[in-house]
Amino acid sequence: MTELDQIDRALIRATQAGLPLDEQPYHRVAATIGITAEEVMERLTRLLESGAIRRMGVVPNHYALGYRFNGMTVWDVADEDMAEAGRQVAELDFVSHCYHRPRFPPDWPYSLFAMVHGRDRDTADSHVAEIARVLGARSRSHLVLFSTRILKKTGLRLAP
């Protein structure tokens, strides 16, 4: 776990809703937290290198771009198969998130989560079929939960 100091946290708070669309966005951020623009850029570089920030860039809104079929696929994979299975599913280019989460059998035996997105249901279904093919017999059962309504979405933020 990366150690973040108070200035790193202030920097994340100041930028988590987006950088200013201004000619010198890092200078603007620097002014709000009371450090220099050079320090803002150095700290962001360090946070990227440490992995605390995964990437910096244009963050598309998939739903607004027509990806209306967002399926949360969940798979019952044995614990001993999880590491390899998770790695293989994560490598599929249409999987946007791939996580191991706890299971609560018998109602919820699913421990591998992978998000798939499609502009139409057929595409989303074909992505699910591809994951099923990759997992083979290691998946004992699975479900696809499509989102029927987005009630709130702000992206991962440092909470208040």
């Binding site: 988590q16 669309l21 010198q24 244009v58 499509f146 009630l151």
Partner: protein, 151 residues
């Protein structure tokens, strides 16, 4: 929403590696062969239209504070009110209705694991419903952005 090839290039080619230079939009403009002001104007328009969520950082989960995925089986006639109650927490940053008995799925992110549990307990107390807590045990994904298709 109409997007021309330059909009699409902005969305596809700059999901990562935003230049860490004094004038990042000028650096992007140079690669696109357009002016700095046009890059800023386009990003402003794409943000306002909703095609772009933001221009900035995507954080690794649990880098700052703690978070979890939670699920609830909400009776259909209570779904709207329970969904509104959940969405009203500033700590809740995603909330989706999904087609399953567990029909409400949301992410709670805050400063510590204790604070996450506090929010889940509070929701449980206020709704009388069970809240399933599904925290991340391992993240397999290497986030390089998402390949968009335009067909």
């Amino acid at each position: 929403m109409t997007m021309d090839p330059i909009d699409r290039q902005l969305l596809q080619d700059f999901q990562r590696d935003l230049p860490l230079v004094a004038r990042p939009y000028a650096a992007m403009a140079e690669r696109l062969g357009i002016g700095e002001t046009e890059v800023i104007d386009r990003l402003d328009r794409l943000t306002n239209s909703g095609a772009v969520s933001r221009v900035g950082a995507v954080l690794r989960p649990h880098t700052v504070g703690a978070s979890t995925l939670a699920a609830m089986a909400v009776p259909t006639d209570r779904l709207d009110s329970v969904a509104a109650l959940v969405s009203a927490y500033p700590e809740v940053n995603h909330n989706y209705q999904r087609d399953h008995r567990l029909n409400l799925w949301f992410v709670v992110a805050t400063t510590s694991a204790e604070a996450v549990h506090g929010v889940l307990d509070d929701i449980h107390q206020r709704t009388g419903l069970t809240v399933l807590n599904l925290p991340l045990e391992q993240d397999f994904h290497i986030d390089l952005g998402f390949e968009l298709s335009w067909t």
